[in-house]
């Protein structure tokens, strides 16, 4: 059971866990990324492509499903404006085997940074606003997966 979503609304992590868990697989791994309020950040805005962002996530989910034996996979990315503490991304993978669930989550979060059409803009309390530049480290982590 694969669930992929790109949504402007709040990600309800508890509800997604409950929906995902239905199968009762032996091992579930997850990653939750939240907006950090560092340096006085007041808003994070994520720009996205109305079609290609979702199809990019679906392609990544499909690739994870091909690489590892997964019973269930949830991959949800928020877009638009959000406040510090709010959830940007949720990755949740279940498998009979812990190594597969953990590897799938790590693969997905790494590749999300470099392969999916999403762009972050940070706004700070003093009025500054800037688009986030891609970091070299993100590419290094994503490239580990070949």
């Amino acid at each position: 059971m694969i669930r992929v979503a790109v949504q402007p609304g709040v990600i309800d992590v508890a509800a997604e866990y409950a929906a995902h868990d239905a199968g009762g697989y032996g091992a579930s791994a997850s990653f939750v990324g939240r907006v950090r309020g560092d340096d006085g950040l007041t808003e994070l805005f994520l720009d996205h492509h109305p079609v290609l962002t979702a199809s990019g996530l679906e392609a990544l989910a499909g690739e994870a499903g091909a690489r590892w034996s997964l019973g269930a996979l949830t991959l949800i990315h928020r877009v638009g404006g959000m406040a510090p503490g709010e959830t940007i991304v949720l990755v949740l993978a279940s498998s009979a085997h812990r190594a597969e669930a953990l590897a799938a989550v790590e693969f997905l979060i790494d590749r999300l940074k470099t392969d999916v059409m999403l762009w972050k803009r940070e706004t700070f309390g003093d009025g500054r606003a800037a688009w986030v530049e891609q970091r070299e480290g993100d590419h290094k982590r994503a490239e580990r997966w070949g």
């Binding site: 990324g33 492509h49 999300l112 762009w119």
Partner: protein, 85 residues
Amino acid sequence: MSLKLSYFAWVRERMGTGEESVTLPDDVRTVADLILWLAARDDAGARAFAEPMRIRAAVDGHMAGPGAVVPRSGEVALFPPVTGG
């Protein structure tokens, strides 16, 4: 025939719009040609495409390098390197 261009992140901001339809001159054949054409077209284009090396493109939903052929209709998306996750 017209081509849909869509812009994202600071390319969108500098262009002042998220998308437009254009009819390309015959000599604009590749993604690199398209970027140079937009940069020369007006002030907004000059600001958005001053640094072509920082621009990525997707043609009809697939990532495309500077040498990729631009179709006469369909969609070309132009944007900075992605920063999701």
